[in-house]
Symmetry: C3
Subunit: 141 residues, 3 copies
Amino acid sequence: MQRIITLTTDRKNGLYDITKEIEEIIRDSRVQNGIASVYARGSTAAIMIQENWDQSVQNDVIALLNRMIPPGVWEHDKQDNNGDAHLKAGLVGPSETIPVIAGKCGLSTWQNIFFCEFDGPRSKREIVVTILEDVRGKSAK
Amino acid sequence: MQRIITLTTDRKNGLYDITKEIEEIIRDSRVQNGIASVYARGSTAAIMIQENWDQSVQNDVIALLNRMIPPGVWEHDKQDNNGDAHLKAGLVGPSETIPVIAGKCGLSTWQNIFFCEFDGPRSKREIVVTILEDVRGKSAK
Amino acid sequence: MQRIITLTTDRKNGLYDITKEIEEIIRDSRVQNGIASVYARGSTAAIMIQENWDQSVQNDVIALLNRMIPPGVWEHDKQDNNGDAHLKAGLVGPSETIPVIAGKCGLSTWQNIFFCEFDGPRSKREIVVTILEDVRGKSAK
């Protein structure tokens, strides 16, 4: 099953938890064992697996990336003034692949799936979720 | 379908756009919905999704990585003098998984797929592209 | 086929080579062409593809990450004192997808698969390995 999650972002840099939406897609797919491929469309956005006990780790992620990749010093800034957003997106990366185990999302207790916005706010962001079943595994039973 | 793209690189550090080759493989596979797994063989190379309006973001990626991971200061340099190349490759990572949507590559308008060379020039680099179909999704229709 | 590798870690930061375990799962799956999705459970752990000629690159990876992401300066440290471990894990990422080619793991000569521990030692870490076959590719022959 393939489904697209849409999202509105309200900040220049921000992490948005999309775990529940992805768990719902896995449930709807009825796939028992396989993978969930999560992909952020947009070259200034990314997907990161991270803890979500509270806001602290999310704040730290943004602080770290701003320190590693400061705004305003890149060749691309002459065009769009968002060179840092592209670099953050490229380094974190738009895709993560998460196992589906016995019909459920295979994240561990403290892992959540975040959409990372690096050039917001944006009225519409898209995340493509593709659930693939281990067909051979099932038929081998 | 699985196919290997081969590439010659002409610089120590460089990004090479392989989007068209991957779009062609997706087309040839005739898969409608699924994923394209893109994998760079070589422990001093990687795959990055990035904008390709012009050369600026590619230059910025290399400038950033050289600043974060300078050459010549690593334990591994005593062996091969390419410690920085391994670290860049490990951090960016060799694999990205891109959705195939209605028979087409699911990149957004400004996303392109780049092979990242960190220890060139090399006469032959290989990228393995595997297209997997959402079989269950199709049969469920 | 889906299988979980378990691991004990003996250091705060360390890379552990799990290539042989994954090659064995690929062999047992009898999949000829497809992908191996490798996923580290735990929000202070990750998967990195890297050279394993000797310990040098592994040492360099840890030195680099400690320099980029020093301990003790993060908002999350007030809770668990492991903010750096979460940031390292998020940046490296928990998932890599490796091609299966003609029944074998599609790594290149110098690529190995490492579990990265950033908050050890831990008595039990889990890596989920899911092997998916290119069913359509096979039936198309």
